[in-house]
């Protein structure tokens, strides 16, 4: 046999076999098949935990299949609670599945629900999911193996018999405001516990504890077995306080059972300008054409310094209002300075001002706060003109009297 005839022979064989093979295969698949499928078939489980594993049943054939499903448990796993549920949130148990041939109903996803009992002994457990078609022709199995591990004691740490928790351990408030922490105290024991409350605070801070939504201040608390009490811890910072973070520790204790929680109060800075005129009055008397100087005391009631203070005024035309000093780079809190700043305000009215009351507004503006001072300025006419008038009349009277005396008795 030469090479060419060899090649043709092999080619012939391959063709025959492939035709045969495809024929046989077509014969072997009578259009009926399904599979059971799960992503995870070997998992590690913990005692007392619940697991849900997705299980898919897919119809691969061209006929509608009705498949009954059985879960087979190991002998050792007798007391395990296992079930096959449908995939809705609160699934119901499934015994039989009907699969169509077309999408989307050719496959179903079920849940293999598994509750590992607390008393399970560590080791390997096997579960077999068996699917049998209605006519017993097709039968598929899926094996799950679970390895139960010993609980790690360190991780557990048994949260204690008393527990304190809060959703918001850090609160932020401007200074001068109190902080309200909502706490949960939990008694995990089987006894009623009467707990003492304790707190450690930064200096000069005060605090009190009330039941939630109530006003009574409490220093001890009864918690029923396995129940939770809600508390409100009100922390009052001192009146003047610098901005910053202040740690607070809150305790409950009952006998040897104690619990504590770390809380944090964040005080933000406040800025509040305040002022007072020398007399406390907001009206000023001045005389037209003259200068009037008065003093305004200015201080920062907040907790942090106010920057870039400058002073403006709105005033009637031709009036002059000047400030001394006319600006300040920074006005620290009055807690630091312990005294107000003095500002000298000079009002100069033009000589022709009509007498009466004029409104003027002084604006003390800083970066963080500003204040308007509305002043009523009462302008009076200078009395010198009055005296000049009196002098004129006096002169005329004197002349008249002079005439009287000179021309008298004729």
């Amino acid at each position: 046999m030469n090479n060419k005839s060899k090649f043709i022979f092999f080619l012939g064989v391959i063709i025959i076999f492939s035709i045969l093979g495809s024929y046989i295969c077509a014969q072997e698949k009578p259009g009926r098949d399904f599979i059971l499928y799960s992503e995870y078939t070997n998992i590690k489980v913990e005692k007392g935990q619940t697991y849900d594993l997705d299980v898919k049943i897919i119809n691969l054939g061209s006929k509608i299949e009705k498949i009954s499903l059985n879960l087979i448990k190991d002998e050792e796993a007798k007391n395990w609670d296992v079930s096959l549920l449908n995939s809705t949130w609160k699934g119901f148990e499934v015994r039989k599945v009907e699969l169509l041939t077309e999408e989307p109903d050719y496959s179903k996803t079920l849940k293999f629900h598994l509750v590992v009992p607390e008393e399970a002994i560590s080791g390997n457990y096997k579960f077999i999911l068996e699917g049998i078609s209605l006519d017993q022709v097709l039968k598929k199995t899926l094996e799950f193996s679970m390895e139960v591990a010993e609980k790690k004691e360190v991780v557990e740490e048994e949260t204690g018999n008393l527990e304190l928790a809060t959703k918001y351990p850090t609160l932020e408030n401007p200074s001068g405001k109190e902080f309200k922490f909502n706490l949960e105290a939990k008694n995990n024991t089987e006894d009623i516990l009467v707990c003492d409350l304790g707190i450690s605070l930064p200096q000069r801070w005060t605090a009190y504890c009330t039941p939630q939504w109530r006003d009574e201040r409490i220093s001890s608390l009864k918690i029923n077995q396995n129940s939770t009490e809600n508390l409100t811890l009100t922390v009052v910072p001192p009146l003047f306080i610098e901005k910053g973070e202040y740690p607070i520790t809150f305790y409950v204790s009952s006998g040897e059972n104690t619990a504590s929680i770390e809380l944090k109060a964040v005080v933000t800075g406040t800025y509040k300008l305040n002022y007072r005129t020398e007399t406390g009055l907001l009206n000023i008397e001045t005389i037209a054409g003259e200068e009037k100087t008065f003093i305004i005391y200015l201080w920062n009631e907040g907790s942090s310094a106010i920057d870039n203070l400058s002073f403006f005024s709105t005033k009637p035309e031709d009036w002059g209002i000047s400030f001394k000093p006319d600006k300040m780079n920074s006005l620290p809190s009055v807690i630091e300075t312990q005294k107000p700043e003095q500002i000298e305000v000079t009002i100069k009215t033009p000589a022709q001002t009509l007498p009466g009351d004029y409104p003027i507004t002084l604006t003390l503006a800083g970066t963080q706060d500003q204040k308007n001072i509305e002043l009523r300025t009462t302008v009076k006419v200078p009395t010198k003109w009055g005296w000049i008038g009196v002098v004129i009349i006096g002169l005329i009277l004197a002349i008249l009297i002079g005439i009287f005396i000179k021309l008298k008795r004729r």
């Binding site: 009637p316 035309e317 022709q352 001002t353 009509l354 007498p355 009466g356 009351d357 004029y358 409104p359 009523r376 009076k380 006419v381 009395t383 003109w385 009055g386 008038g389 009196v390 004129i392 009349i393 005329i396 009277l397 002349i399 008249l400 005439i403 009287f404 021309l407 008298k408 008795r409 004729r410």
Partner: protein, 313 residues
Amino acid sequence: MNGLKVVFWKEMADHLGSRKFIILFAIILAISVSVVYILSQNISEYFSEISKEYMFLNLFTTSAGSLPSFIFFVSFFGPLIGIIFGFDSINSERSRGTMSTVLSQPIYRDALINGKFLASLTTIGIMLISIILIILGLELGVLGIIPNFEEILRMGLFFVASIIYIGFWLSMGILFSIVFRQTTTSALISVMLWIFFAFFILMIASVIADQIVPLNQNSTLEVAAKNDEIKNMILRISPVVLFQEIVIALLNPSARAFGISSLVKLNDLLPTSLSISQSLMVIWPQFVGLIALMLICFAISYIIFMRQEIRAT
């Protein structure tokens, strides 16, 4: 002094008994009372316009319908009263020939003129104060408004200003009665001056102001204010205008300026009332001017009278 007293009481008796006094008094009283009465009848109509703080004073300055206000009557007809009391005080005696008779008594000349002036002024004062008191009583009775202390003070000042104002016209009348021999001449000239100061000065002032600062439709407020200022300056020659300004400031506590120029400045002001001393300061120049006018007028007539030759005719 004794001579002065004699002349004073004699003149007083003459004035109060004279027919012209009674007629004048009746006219002024009737007008004033009717003004106040109509005003108080329609008080609700004017109520909104009247500031409640000085309601009493406002009744003097508010005009009721077609009737002008009380102060209008005083400013226009006060001069007439002054003139009527003054214009014939000397020359009528002279023409009757009683002057030399009087002066032959132990009465000096200065006592005569002083006595006449003071008696006339006192008569006018009595007249004015009785009218004011009648109005006050009427308002108290009809409206039940009680004036507060400041209102009473302001009314007192108003009374003083009115006396000085009428006193000016009186001394002017006396001056003319000394200068002119004929009573008709002195009467005519006095009335002419009154008409001039009360009416013509208004026209003259605006004519002069328009000549200096012409106004047209495009004039700015500043130009208008300038024009107004000049007009006011000229107007203030007239004692009538001076008196009107004084009275406005006295009886209207929120008034503090006259003319457009000062209205511009009013923008910034709060519409509050002035204290009485401040109101007085506002019109103090006018007040001084009025007093000076009266005194100078009287001084001139005094000098002329003292130097005159008086012969028995």
